[in-house]
């Protein structure tokens, strides 16, 4: 799970600030890559091998934060979670999803997967995984337009994003189970 804590280790500035990038979901992947590489080179521990201890530690911390920033912003789902948290919206431990139909569907799909796993029916696992991956793509596709709206000031779009991210957590957990089931079979 991605820890969403926007100001954990960068002294308050955002990951976007750190990388000198505009704070938007529609991030240019090549620009992210270039900014990360350039800054990582500056912060590389080898450059500080002869420096005083305090500077070495600081450089190491900077390198670590850069890695964290890159990892968070590179993929759409962690980027979306991070940006949503920057808008003050998080998915907390005590949050409840009040959607019986969705929960029932997930429960039944989990049961189906568990049965296929126990019976060693890899085709069934593969089929369930393929369907869930498609659902994953569909949810990820909702993020860009919703963020575009949110960034134009449409506060209601934040709820849409949150809902999609909640479903993505269930979908992500499901896909982990699929992968674990297929790993079983390899072992």
């Amino acid at each position: 799970m991605v820890a969403v804590n926007p100001s954990s280790s960068d002294g308050g500035g955002s990951y976007f600030d750190l990388l000198g990038l505009p704070e938007t979901f529609a991030l240019d992947g090549a620009a992210l890559e270039a900014a990360y590489l350039a800054r990582s080179k500056d912060a590389h521990p080898d450059r500080f091998a002869q420096a005083p201890a305090a500077e070495r530690v600081a450089a190491l911390q900077r390198a670590r934060t850069l890695n964290e920033a890159y990892k968070t912003l590179k993929k759409p789902v962690p980027r979306a979670e991070y940006l949503l948290a920057r808008h003050g919206v998080t998915i907390g431990d005590h949050e409840r999803l009040d959607d019986a139909a969705f929960l029932m569907e997930i429960l039944e799909l989990r049961e189906e997967l568990a049965a296929a796993r126990v019976a060693g029916k890899l085709d069934d696992v593969g089929r369930l995984e393929a369907a869930m991956k498609q659902r994953h793509r569909g949810l990820v596709d909702q993020l860009a337009p919703a963020f575009a709206a949110a960034e134009r000031g449409d506060a209601a779009a934040l709820a849409t994003i949150k809902r999609a991210l909640i479903e993505l957590r269930y979908v992500g957990r499901y896909l982990e189970e699929c992968a674990a089931s297929l790993d079983d079979a390899d072992a």
């Binding site: 799970m1 998915i91 907390g92 431990d93 005590h94 949050e95 409840r96 999803l97 959607d99 019986a100 969705f102 929960l103 029932m104 997930i106 429960l107 989990r110 049961e111 909640i166 957590r169 269930y170 992500g172 957990r173 499901y174």
Partner: protein, 126 residues
Amino acid sequence: MAYSDKVIEHYENPKNVGTLGKDEDDVGTGLVGAPACGDVMRLQIRVKDGVITDAKFKTFGCGSAIASSSLATEMIKGMTIEQAGTIKNTQIVEELNLPPVKIHCSVLAEDAIKAAIEDYKKKHAR
């Protein structure tokens, strides 16, 4: 994450896993989801003369969530629905020695009990 022996015991040998007929008149079903972890928990009770005669659960989640719901079903069997409704998550935390980061799993189980009772009462409010 180091689980306590009690959590492992309930996780490896969960009590009362299963399903009761959710459309049956004497069955109450609680279905709750914790989106932060992508967990889903269903807890069901069968009630006769105000007493819980049977309880079943199905939980897809971490070991602590499974252990919490397993223990919850054990606790409520034989209780009146009023007694079961007063169960607090802290009792589950104590019994299972849950660490602070897993307390929310016990809260989910408490919510599931309440939701099951609620569902049963709704069926009988007519």
